[in-house]
């Protein structure tokens, strides 16, 4: 499947802003079943200084500085990506989750893919007793890890309502749990927290999901904005497997990955600091269109 992804982030400032610094996680990464055919970022007003590099986890980042006064800012990313992911293994074939947890802890590597980075509480996916207890219900002793993971993902989709606007990035997990509603970031953080509470290694993935569903299938949630889901380490033989708790889907060719981190704060698409005094307002639009050959 080939997609054209357009992601536009617009800031408007009440008062002119003297200068602004940004770090972007907007360029999709290469590999893991996807190939980036072309991608570019346009900034208006133009940036003085723009540098692309890779972060620790191998994500492609862009750092830029705008040092002229401005009152509005557009960051537009346009990418064409080909997605063809390998078949997900049969869940029953994966090993018991306790064994996988032990292997994750004992992984002898600090490399970017190593499960050790995703075992611990992080800034937004901290350990939470309710989340752990919720997760534990799916993880009976000896159960194959992917089977249990899929059940947990499905229970989140079934028991939580997708309601945009009721939460923010800063909403504590416990509150999300209490109100039983939220958006994709909340569900991803919640699932990650539960998995880590059990000693498993789980990562946060930011990306997109196709806007218009294939004929005869329902439109998916989270299509008009950045999407987020979970990647679960399923042992050395199967590695990382993506699970989308918002839609109760295994990650396949409908998803485009942008970046992987411990939680949202590692991969937030646009992270910025500006010097100015007024309020700012932000709007984001995302379009993911299949390219018909």
């Amino acid at each position: 499947m080939i997609y054209d992804v357009t992601h536009v982030t617009s800031y408007e400032y009440e008062l002119p802003v003297a200068s602004a610094d940004f770090m972007l996680h907007l360029t999709p990464h290469e590999g893991n079943g996807q190939h980036v055919i072309k991608t570019r970022i346009e900034i208006d007003p133009p940036a003085m200084d723009m540098q692309a590099r890779q972060d620790f986890f191998g994500n492609r980042t862009t750092v830029l500085k705008i040092s002229r006064p401005h009152q509005a800012l557009d960051i537009r990313t346009v990418s064409r990506i080909e997605v063809e992911r390998p078949q997900v293994p049969a869940a029953a074939l994966t090993r018991p989750w306790e064994t996988v947890a032990r292997d994750a802890l004992n992984a002898p590597s600090l490399g970017p893919q190593s499960p050790v980075h995703f075992l611990y509480a992080s800034r937004l996916a901290y350990l939470s007793t309710p989340a752990t207890q919720f997760a534990r219900a799916s993880f009976a002793p000896g159960r194959p890890i992917l089977e249990a993971g899929i059940e947990l993902m499905t229970r989140i989709r079934d028991e939580f309502r997708y309601v945009p606007g009721t939460t923010a990035i800063s909403t504590p997990l416990d509150q999300v749990f209490e109100q039983r509603s939220g958006v994709c970031q909340d569900f991803a953080h919640l699932m990650i927290a539960g998995l880590r509470g059990l000693g498993l290694s789980a990562a946060y993935v930011s990306g997109y999901i196709r806007t218009i569903p294939p004929r005869g299938r329902p439109r998916l949630q989270g299509a008009d904005a950045s999407h987020a889901w979970v990647s679960l380490w399923c042992g050395a033989e199967f590695g990382w497997i993506g699970l989308d708790p918002t839609n109760a889907l295994l990650i396949g060719d409908d998803h485009v990955e942008v970046a992987i981190g411990r939680d949202y704060s590692d991969v937030s698409p646009v992270k910025g600091v500006f010097i100015g005094s007024g309020r700012d307002s932000l709007s984001v639009s995302v379009d993911v269109a299949p390219v018909t050959a």
Partner: protein, 840 residues
């Protein structure tokens, strides 16, 4: 006082009495009484010498030391409190013999070397993990393993530049490392302050005991930082979280002592791959940053995005090798307790040596075997977070002695350790040795054994690691020697390392430690200029309010005052106070006294004398390293005077007296500033702030009392307000008339309160500041000031009218704006509280 202390008994009896009543805790080593049950020789010598003082003298010396600590502003902030606390000083130093110190010192040097190599490996080659010497999960678990720093190469190669170890003497009599401080160790400044005070309290004793000096260490530390920089003669900055930091005093003190530039994140900027300080002379390279903010907050782009303390781009400048950091961000990861479990093995692996100072036996429960061992001997251990300061799952607790847990808590802990063992460590419970402290019960002062922790500092220098011979000692007020945590009820003690031979005099001053090594003030940071300027303006505003209050009360007191109500002097004075938000509203002139009080004391009026004083103190608190302690003390005194409420029954005389007192303190501050402050840019800004504020205020006074409708009575008030009554009378035989009064208030360049006089000073200040223009063209503030000065010089008082006076006021306001635009930071995302408040 105890009988034996009151009597004129001299040594050795008094020392003997102290010794006899001293009882070490059973089974716990003591610094005073050696393992053989007899006092150590150096302690005996010390107490004998102390016994020479009679008790009154001794008490007085200790009280003086306490007062010096308090008045010197040696303080810290307790979390959650806005006021600073003085650091309580123990009356007795901790004594350590040279031989013992040599062992400690060698052990700390070994450890510093070891830690530096471990950090460099973890962010670099990663061999320790590959070779299996360290589990990857121990590294990944530390929140201070900062992934953006992976692969960075510090300029000069050192990840650790300044290191501290918390040590204590264990039950076996050896010194043990209780914890490593590799992030941004605090306490060296307190050690320095304690030394200054203690050595001044007992100068003879200090000399005779051959106490090792601290100054050489700090010089070496400074050399080490300079050596680590890319350029020779580097600019070294101490990066502080700001005046609300718990240890801000210490940071300002050290910056002042070492001649470093004290900067906040907003003072720094990343450009062209390098770090710079924003100064009044433009951007100046920052070569070395000694950071006192935690690494996570250093860079909001690459690290914690919520940080407003750091600088976007700092991590990139580090990667470019263009700024030297002490310590490198990320070095803090070794503070995690989990690493303690691996130190003995890592020492053998990397250095081929055993640790010279053992650390507390530690088991990381992320390894099944180690966890098994911990669970087996659980009741004899202390359980803590492997990476966090808190014990995970037990909110608000640092650690748990398992033997003291309830059965339910114990069960919960075991369950948590089974689910996520990697979050926990088990540690041997160490009972710390004790050192003598004074205990006063009723009139009796006696020596009692108290547990302590000693923080030892080491610095990387061109000649290798050097250790501060002394340190920061915290003595518990309780005798429970298991209480490793010493947060509550601690005093700090000076630490005397006793040399075997006489100590060389390092400096000319007897205490040896209060010498400023170098003054590298360099260019004034814009933020400091801003705060100095506003300090000047707030103080001047306080003075203006005090003068108005004085005039208002005097009017109320005057039995001959005409009873005209409308637009009379009382109403006009009131209007001025209201326009400055010093009082809420104009009231009947019979209530002037109430209003005067409100304008002085009421913190709810954000323009009251008290509110402006608090604002002045706030501005001063973030530039403490630039103000003398005397000035700081006087600002505190001014606040105390204005905080004293006079109560309902206050009479006019009371209010007058209070205003007079406050005016005297302000005069004293001005005196200190003028007589003692170096004539560098900082002084220019402070004085310029006063001058600008005073000229604006004077013009307001003139508008109110010498406008086109002025009469004799109003002019008279103006002469009072500008303190020119006597001069006027000696110059003019007639009563107050309009043109002469206007001339005196506005144009007379010989009158130090006239607007023309202020304009002259302001223009001089601006002329003395660096210019950003290479063409020789004047910058805007100077253009405005020159023109203003010239116009005032040629102005004729007889031609002035209300509109012209008002125009001058507007020109001064424009000058104030131009000064702010040119010299200060424009980071409105962090507005100084209280600055956006109607001050011109």
């Amino acid at each position: 006082m105890a009988d034996e202390l009151l009597s004129p008994v001299r040594t050795p009896q008094r020392a003997q009495a102290w010794t006899q009543s001293y009882a070490p805790l059973p089974g716990i080593p003591d610094e005073f009484i050696g393992p053989d049950g007899t006092p150590r020789a150096y302690w005996r010598g010390f107490l004998d010498a102390l016994g020479q003082f009679d008790q009154d003298d001794l008490d007085q010396r200790l009280a003086t030391a306490e007062r010096r600590i308090r008045e010197g502003g040696v303080s810290y902030r307790i979390q959650g409190e806005t006021n600073e606390q003085s650091w309580p000083l123990s009356g007795l130093p901790l004594l350590i013999s040279q031989a013992e110190w040599n062992e400690i010192s060698a052990g700390v040097v070994q450890r510093a070397q070891l830690l530096d190599r471990i950090i460099a490996d973890l962010y670099g080659d990663g061999r320790l993990v590959r070779d299996g010497a360290l589990p990857a999960a121990v590294v990944a678990g530390s929140p201070e393993f900062l992934r953006p720093l992976a692969g960075a190469k510090p300029f000069g190669g050192r990840w650790l530049q300044f290191y501290a170890a918390d040590i204590g003497r264990g039950p076996d009599g050896r010194w043990w490392v209780l914890g490593d401080r590799t992030q941004a160790p605090s306490g060296a400044g307190y050690a320095l302050a304690n030394r200054l005070v203690t050595s001044q309290a007992f100068p003879g004793l200090y000399r005779d005991m051959n106490v090792q000096r601290l100054a050489p260490f700090f010089r070496a530390f400074r050399d080490g930082l300079a050596h680590a920089a890319e350029r020779s003669d580097p600019r070294i900055c101490l990066l502080t979280p700001g005046a609300f930091s718990q240890t801000y005093f210490e940071q300002a003190y050290l910056a002042r002592y070492l001649g470093f530039l004290l900067v906040e994140g907003a003072d720094l900027v990343y450009a062209d791959g390098k770090m710079h300080v924003r100064t009044i002379a433009g951007l100046k390279r920052a070569d070395v940053i000694w950071r006192r903010i935690d690494a996570e907050w250093c860079d909001p782009l690459e690290l914690n995005g919520a940080s407003r303390l750091g600088v976007p781009g700092m991590v990139e400048a580090i990667r470019q090798g263009k700024v030297s950091m002490a310590n490198m961000p990320g070095a803090g990861l070794l503070e995690a307790r989990a690493f303690q479990a691996f130190m003995p093995g890592l020492a053998r692996h990397l250095l081929g040596e055993d640790l010279r100072l053992p650390n507390i036996a530690t088991w990381w429960c992320g390894q099944e075997r180690q966890r098994g061992e911990v669970l087996e001997q659980l009741d004899h251990l202390s359980i803590s977070g492997a990476f966090a300061n808190q014990l995970p799952g037990f909110d608000g607790r640092h650690s748990a002695l398992v033997s003291e847990l309830s059965p339910a808590e114990r069960e919960r802990l075991v369950e948590a350790m089974t689910a996520r063992g990697m979050d926990y460590v088990g540690q041997e419970v160490v009972r710390l040795s004790t050192t003598p402290a004074w205990e006063t019960s009723g009139d009796r002062a006696r020596l009692v054994p108290r547990p302590f922790v000693l923080r030892v500092f080491a610095a990387a220098t061109p000649d290798g690691w050097q250790v501060l011979p002394g340190g920061f000692c915290r003595v518990s007020d309780r005798s429970d020697a298991r209480a490793v945590s010493m947060d509550a009820s601690v005093r700090s003690a000076d630490v005397w390392v006793l040399s075997d031979k006489p100590v060389e005099m390092e400096t000319l001053l007897p205490s040896g430690d209060d010498v400023r090594i170098i003054r590298l003030l360099g260019n004034l940071p814009s933020r400091a200029a801003d705060n100095l300027y506003w300090f000047g303006r707030y103080l001047e505003r306080v003075e203006a309010i005090l003068r108005i209050v004085r005039a208002l009360v005097a009017k109320a007191l005057d039995p001959d005052a005409p009873t005209r109500v409308d637009h009379g002097p009382a109403e006009r004075l009131q209007r001025l106070l209201v326009s400055w938000d010093a009082a809420p509203r104009v009231v009947a002139s019979s209530l002037s006294l109430d209003m005067a009080q409100s304008a002085l004391h009421d913190e709810n009026n954000y323009g009251s004398a008290l509110s402006n004083t608090i604002a002045a103190r706030r501005a001063a608190s973030s530039i403490r390293e630039r103000l003398s302690p005397d000035v700081w003390l006087l600002v505190g005194r001014l606040e105390n005077i204005l905080r004293k409420p006079l109560g309902q029954s206050a009479v006019e005389a009371g209010v007058l007296e209070q205003s007079e007192q406050a005016l005297q303190v302000i005069a004293a501050i001005a005196g200190f500033v003028n007589e003692n402050m170096n004539r560098v840019a900082g002084w220019n800004f402070l004085d310029m702030g006063r001058r600008i504020e005073r000229s604006i205020n004077t013009l307001r006074f003139v508008s109110q009392f010498a406008g086109d409708d002025a009469d004799l009575e109003l002019l008279d008030v103006l002469l009072d307000l500008i303190d020119s009554q006597i001069t006027y009378r000696s110059r003019y035989l007639t009563g107050a008339t309009l043109a002469p009064v206007r001339d005196m208030a506005m144009l007379d360049a010989f009158n130090p309160r006239s607007v023309a006089f202020q304009a002259g000073r302001i223009e001089e200040h601006l002329a003395g500041l660096p210019s950003l223009r290479e063409t020789g063209m004047l910058e805007q503030p100077r253009q405005i000031a020159l023109k203003l000065k010239g116009d005032l010089a040629v102005e004729d008082a007889r031609r002035l009218n209300s509109q012209a006076i008002y125009d001058y006021e507007n020109r001064l306001v424009a000058l104030a704006i131009a000064v702010a635009d040119r010299y200060f930071l424009h980071d409105a995302s962090e507005p100084s509280p209280g600055k956006v408040r109607g001050l011109a």
